[in-house]
Symmetry: none
Subunit: 226 residues, 4 copies
C-alpha cells in the first residue's frame, strides 16, 4: 500500500501547494501539519522531512504563493513603461486588484493573516518581495504630484491608493464575519466588476492626487511670492 515513488520532488510541490492554501485559509496557528499533509497526500512526517518544521514550511509556502502570483500578475499590469502616466497608474492598480480578486492568490491571504496576527516569520521574505513593487508605485505617484512634493505627501497618496485596492478584500472579509455561511465571495466577481472597480479607484485617486498637487503648487507659489 506504499505510495508510488514517482518523484521525490512532487510531494514537496504538493506540500507547498496545500500549505499555502491552508495557511491562507486558516492562518499559521489554526492550520495543522496533519491537514496540510493529508491534502498533499503525504505522510504526517513529510512536512518536517522536506522543510524541517512548520515555521519553515510557512515561509516557503508564502514564497511559493507569492512567486506564483507575481508570475501571473506582473506589477506593472502589462502596461509599457513609455505609456501615459495615468495609464501606468491604472495598470498597477489593475495588477494589484487582479491579485486581490483572484481567489487562488493565496499570497495575499497569508500576508493579510500575518498583518493581523504576525508570527514574525515572514519579515525578511516579505520585505524583499514587496519593496520593489512599492518602489515602482512611488515613481508614478511622484510624477503625478508634479514639482517638489514632500516625502510625506507621496507616502500619503500611495497609502490612499493602496488602501483602496485592498478595500474590496476587507469588504469580503467583513462579510465573512457577519454572515459565516460560505459566501461566493471573491470567486463570484467577474471581469466586469473588476473593470468597474479599477475604473473607480483610478479616477477617484487621480482626482485625489490632483487635489493634493494643486495644494502643493499653491503653497510653492505662495512661498515664491513671499
Amino acid at each position: 500500500m506504499r505510495k508510488q515513488r514517482i518523484d521525490g520532488q512532487e510531494t514537496r510541490r504538493n506540500l507547498l501547494a496545500s500549505a499555502s492554501e491552508i495557511f491562507a485559509k486558516k492562518g499559521f496557528r489554526d492550520a495543522t501539519i496533519a491537514e496540510i499533509c493529508r491534502q498533499a497526500n503525504a505522510n504526517v512526517a513529510a512536512a518536517n522531512y522536506h522543510f524541517g518544521g512548520k515555521e519553515a514550511l510557512y515561509v516557503e509556502s508564502w514564497r511559493f504563493a507569492f512567486a506564483k502570483s507575481l508570475n501571473t500578475y506582473p506589477p506593472n499590469g502589462g502596461v509599457a513603461e513609455d505609456a501615459p502616466i495615468e495609464e501606468q497608474l491604472r495598470g498597477r492598480i489593475m495588477a494589484i486588484m487582479r491579485r486581490v480578486i483572484d481567489p487562488q492568490s493565496y499570497e495575499l491571504d497569508i500576508f493579510y493573516n500575518e498583518m493581523a496576527n504576525s508570527t514574525g516569520l515572514l519579515a525578511e521574505t516579505v520585505q524583499q518581495s514587496i519593496e520593489p513593487i512599492f518602489r515602482g508605485f512611488a515613481a508614478i505617484v511622484k510624477e503625478l504630484l508634479g514639482t517638489q512634493p514632500s516625502e510625506q505627501q507621496v507616502r500619503l497618496c500611495i497609502m490612499s491608493i493602496h488602501a483602496q485596492c485592498f478595500g474590496p478584500l476587507m469588504r469580503e472579509r467583513r462579510r465573512k464575519i457577519i454572515s459565516p455561511d460560505p459566501l461566493p465571495a471573491r470567486s463570484e466577481w467577474n471581469l466586469d466588476d473588476l473593470e468597474t472597480l479599477v475604473d473607480h479607484v483610478t479616477r477617484f485617486s487621480l482626482a485625489g492626487i490632483r487635489e493634493i498637487r494643486s495644494r502643493v503648487e499653491s503653497a510653492v507659489i505662495a512661498e515664491q511670492h513671499a
Copy 2:
C-alpha cells in the same frame, strides 16, 4: 494568597480588560486563558467561572472593547448634524482614525484579527455594532454625490474612504511584520500626525467624490440631450 473580596465585579472587569488586550494582540487561538487570567490576577478557572468558556469571553471582550471605544470616540466625531456636509465627513473620518490610531482601541485589532482569521463568533455582535456607523456614513456620501447617484457609486465611494481610514493601520501592521521588534507603532503618532492624516484623507476623498459626481452629472445631461 486568596484574593480580597472587595467587589464581586472587579475580577470580571479585569478579565475583560486583559482579554480584550491579549485577544487583540494574539488573536483567538494564540491567546490563552492562562495568560489572560494571569494578567487579570485571577485563577485559571476564573474565566470559565465568569464567562463560561473561551469563546464567550472572546465575544464579551470584543463587546467590552467596542463599547469603550464607542464611548470615547462617537461616530460623528463630535460634529453637529447641521454643520456643513464636508465638515461632517471630516468628523466621521476623524472619528474612525482616532480609533485606528488609539493604541488601546483593542476593538479594531480584534476585528482585524477576525477578518483575517474568522472564528465566526463575532458575527452577530459585530453586525449589530457597526451597522449604525456605516449607515451614518452613507447619508453623507449620498448628499455629496448630488443628484441620483447609483447604489454602486455610493458603495464604491464609501469603500474608498473607509479603506483610506484603515490604511494607516495596515501600514503599521506591515511594519510589524517587516521589523518584528516591538515597534512604538501607533502610540508614536501624535496629534499633528492625526490632523495631517485626516486632512489628507478628507481632501483626497472630497476630490474623488467630486470627480465621480461630475461623471454622474455629465451622464445625466447627456441623457437629457439625447
Copy 3:
C-alpha cells in the same frame, strides 16, 4: 434577592431529596454537587455546609432513600406472620418488587450503581439496612425446604428468588442501554403487571424450591437406607 429563610432544615431536606434522585440517576461520579444544589434551590456551598462533602451527602442520601422506601413498603409485604408460608413468601416477593417497580424508589438505583461501580462508601449503612430483610427471607425459605436443608441450598434458593425480583430492573436497564431514548420504563408498569410478575415469580420459585426439597429428601432417605 436573598432567599426567604423559612427553615434551616428545609434546605437540608431538599438537598437530600434531590441528591438521592440525582445520585440514583447518574451515579456518584457523574452526579455533580452543582446540579444537586440547583435542583434543591440551594447554593453550591450548601451541600458542603450541611453535610460536609460530597461523600457524606451520598451516604445520607442513600439513608434517606432507603428509609423512605422501607416506610412505604414493609419487607413482609403486609402479610401476617401466621399466614400460610407460601403467602408469606409471596408477600416478601411483592414487597421487593414494589420497590423495584416504584420509579421513585431511588434507594435501589443507588444500590445498583454501587454494585456496578462501588465507591465503598455505603458499606456500613447498606450492611445494617439490608441484613434484617435478608434474614427474614431465609427463615421462610428454610421452612419451605423442609427437613435439614444444607446452608448452601438455602443460599442458592434465596439467590434464585432475589435474582428474579431484580430481573425486571435489569431488563429495564438493558433497554436503557439499547435504546437510549428516554423510555417510559418502570413508570409505565401498572398494578396488573405487578400482579402478573409477582404471580410468576412466586409460582416459579415455589416449584423450584419443591424440586430442590425433593432432592434433599431423597438424598436423606438414600442415606438412611445405606
Copy 4:
C-alpha cells in the same frame, strides 16, 4: 526511553486489554485515560492516537472483551443441537455462568456498569452482540413450555433463568460493597462451585418452567371443555 517498534499493533492490543480491564473495574467516568495508558505501557496520547478518544476506546474495549469472551464460551455451552432439550438449556446456563464467574470476563462488568450508569455509547454494539444469544434462549424455553405458550409467559421464564444466572454476579458485587477490601471474589470460585451453581439453576428453572407449563395446559383444557 522510546519504545521498541516490534509490532505496530501491539500497543493497540495492550491498550484494549488494559482499557477493558479498567473500564470494567471503574466504569467509564472513573477510569482515566492516563491510567489505562500507564498500564498499557504507553503514552497518554496513545489512546487518542489509536482510537481517537475515550469514548471510542470504551466502545472498542467492550467489543474486545465481548469477542474474547464469546470465543472462550460459546453461547450454547458446547452442547450439540440435537441433544435433549434439557441438556441444551443446561449448556446455555453453563455458558452464561462461566462468563459470569470468569474473573477476566470484563465484558460483563462493562455491561453491568453500563446498565447501572449508561453512557449510551454501547447501544448499537451491545444490541448486535447479545441479540443472537437471547434468540437462541427463546427457542429452547418455548419448546420446554410445550403447546401454545403466550409471549408473556416465554418472556417471564427467560427472565427468571437469566436473572438467576446473573444472581451470583450481583451477590459478589454486594459483597464488594459491604466489605470494601479487595476480595478474592469470583476468582475464588472453583469448578465444583460452578457445577453446583449450574445444577441448581437448571433444576430450579426446569421445575419452574414445568409449573408454568402445567398451568398453561390446564388453562387450555379448561377452554376446550367450555
